[in-house]
Symmetry: C2
Subunit: 396 residues, 2 copies
Amino acid sequence: MAYNFFYYAPTEVIFGKDTVTRVGELVKKYGGKKVLFVYGSERIRTNGLLDQIEASMKEAEIPYWLLGGVVPNPHIEKAREGMEIAKKEGIDFFIGIGGGSAIDTAKAIAYGMTDPDKDVWELYDDAVKRIPSGCYPVAAILTIAAAGSETSNSSVLTNAATGIKRSYNSELARPKFAIMDPTYTLTLPDWQTESGCADMMMHTMERYFVQGDTMEITDTIAEALLRTVIKNAKILHKDPQNYDARAEVMWAGSLAHNGLTGCGIHAGDFACHLIEHELGGLFDVTHGAGLAAIWSTWARYVYKDCLPRFVRYAIEVMQVEPGETDEETALRGIAAMEDFYKEIGMPTRIRDLGIMPTDEQCREMAKSCMVASGGKKGEAKVLYEEDVYNIYKAAL
Amino acid sequence: MAYNFFYYAPTEVIFGKDTVTRVGELVKKYGGKKVLFVYGSERIRTNGLLDQIEASMKEAEIPYWLLGGVVPNPHIEKAREGMEIAKKEGIDFFIGIGGGSAIDTAKAIAYGMTDPDKDVWELYDDAVKRIPSGCYPVAAILTIAAAGSETSNSSVLTNAATGIKRSYNSELARPKFAIMDPTYTLTLPDWQTESGCADMMMHTMERYFVQGDTMEITDTIAEALLRTVIKNAKILHKDPQNYDARAEVMWAGSLAHNGLTGCGIHAGDFACHLIEHELGGLFDVTHGAGLAAIWSTWARYVYKDCLPRFVRYAIEVMQVEPGETDEETALRGIAAMEDFYKEIGMPTRIRDLGIMPTDEQCREMAKSCMVASGGKKGEAKVLYEEDVYNIYKAAL
C-alpha cells in the first residue's frame, strides 16, 4: 500500500530567458531589505550576469553585498565569512548565484544568522547536530543544473579543516524564489554539465531503488524524468550550446530533488550519496562524477536485494531487452547505465576520477560514512561499515 | 524553443491515512485564529470526518464555524452567505472540506473578505472583473479527487440567479495546506469517481494540445500522469474500495492542475473547459462528465490543426498502433479515448448526460462562452462563436 507522504515545494520558479532582471522585484515581494549575494567564480562579472543583477537591485533600491569565492564542495569557512558580513551590515536575505555550492552556502549563512553567535558547523557536525532557531529567507539564481538546491530543502557543506562533508536538511531553507535562465548554462564545460546530469539522475534514483510499495504515478514521473535527462545529456555532450537541451536538464534538476520523485515511498536510499560525500570531502571530487563512479559498483552489490526495482529500471529507463531471468535483465540495465556514463564522459570507477584511495583511506571513509548515517544506510539494501568498505574497494 | 514559464505550487501537502488529525496544528502553523469550514453534504457528520476535524481543532484551541450545503457547480450565493458569517465572527482562515466545489467556495469567501462590503461575484463577472484586494488564507481537506483546487490557483463559481458559471484564477488563492486522505474517497459513487478522473485528465490535456514548442520533460510527465489515471480509473470502476488506486488518482488530480503539466508551453487550450462551463451553468451537469461528453467532438473538430500533438497523444497515451497516415493515427487515438470513456461509464455525447439543449440554447451557450473568453478561445485551434456552436451541435 502507498505510504503516507509529505510534499512541500513552495519555491516560486521563474524560468527562461532574461528572467534575472526580475531579481530586485522578487526580493521586494519576499520582504528582503538587505541582500547578500553568494557566488563562486568571477565569471559572473564577465558574462553580464552580475551587471543584470546589479541593475535590477538598483532599480528596486535594495542595498546588497557580494561574497564570491565559493568553491565546489563548498566550505563552512565561507559560510562563516558570510555570517560576519551579514552581522556587520544587518543583512536579512541571502541569494546564491550558481549551482548547489553557492546556494548551499547561502542556506548555511541563512541558518547561521538565526543564532549568530554560535558556530554554524554545529548543524552539520554529527557530534553536535544543533537545530537552528530558524532560517532567514534564501533565494537562488541558478547557473548550473545539478544539485537541485534551488528548490530543495537540502544543503551540503564541507569542513575544509577536517575534510568532513555533511548535509543538513530542513523545510525552513526552501528558497523563496529561483530564477532559472538556461542561457547562463550554455558555456558550462562538458565535465560540469555531465556531472550535473549524473547528480540529478542520482537524486531520482535514490528515491527509486527502495523496498516496499511505491506509487505508479511517482514511478512513471521518475522514469520520464530519467529518460529525459539521459536523452538531453547525450545531446549536450555533442552540442553544449543547445538551449532547449539546457532547459530540459535545468528543469529536470529541480524536479529531481524537490520531493516530487519520492512521493509515496517509505524512504529514499541515499547510500550512494553518503558514500560519495566521503570522496568529496577527502579528495574534492566533483559530486556528480563521484556518484557516477560509485553507482554501478553499488548497484551490483545490492541489486539482488531489490530485484524488482532493478528490473523495472532496466526496462523502463534504460529500455534494454529483457534477459532470460530477472537477474540478467537487472544486470543488463546496470551495464546499459555504465555505457551511458561512458558515452557522456562520466567515470564508472573511482580511478577514473584521477584518484586512488589507499586501503586505509577506504577504511576511514567507510567509518566516517557510518558516523554520518548513524551506523547503517540504505533502503535498497541496508549497508554497514564493512559493506561500504567493500564498495569503495570494488569501485576502485 | 521552450517558452519561458512560471511555476508556483506552494501548498504543503499532507497525504495519506489519518492525516486529518493534523488540521488544528496546521491552522496554527499558518496563523489562523478563527476558521470557517465550508463543505457540501452532511456525509462528513456520519463518516467520522467531522469528528476528527473537530477534535483536532479543539486540541489546538482554535475556534471554528461550519458552513454546509455547498452544491456541485457551487453557487456564489453560498460564498456570500459565508462572508456574512465571517464578517460577524471575525473569521480569518477558510478551509474547504470536499472537492472543488467546497474548496472553490472557500476561495471565493477568502477573496471576498478582503473587500467585505463589495459583492464577490464582481471577481467572476465578465462585465466587472474586479481585482480583489487580496485573499485570506485558504486550505483544503480533500475528499473528492477531481478538480485539483487543493493545490491550484483556480476557483469556479456559478451565479445561481443567472446560470452563469465563471472562473477566477490568481496565485493569491493557492491553499496553504492540503490534507489528502484517500480513505475518505473510498465510498464515492462511481459516477463521481469517474467524472473526477475525466476532469483531472482534462486539466492535463488542456495543456497538452497546444501549438508551438513544448518541453520533453513536461510532455513525458503529462503522459505518465494520463496513463496512470487511465489505468486506475479502470480499476476503480470495478473495485471502488481499492485504496492504492484511490491514492493514485488523488495525487494525480493535484499534479494535473498545479501547473506542473504546463511548464514550458505558450498557453493552455482550455476551450473544452469553457465550452463545458456553459453546460454546467445552464444544466448543472457534473463537470468532469460534461468535459468527457464534449471532448471527442472538440477533438475531431480541431485535430487537423494540431496534428503532431494528436498523433503523439494517440501513441504515447492511448498506445494505439500507428495508422498509415498521421490523420489516421490521430483519429485512432480519439476513438480509443472514447472507448476508454465508455469503459468507465463516462458520456461521449451531450445526450448521454440526460440533457438535450435546444438549438437556441446552443446559440446562447456559444455566445456566453465567447463573453467569458473575450471573443475567441483555444490554442490547439482558435475557436470563435460559430465554432463553439458547431461543437455543441455536433456533440449532441
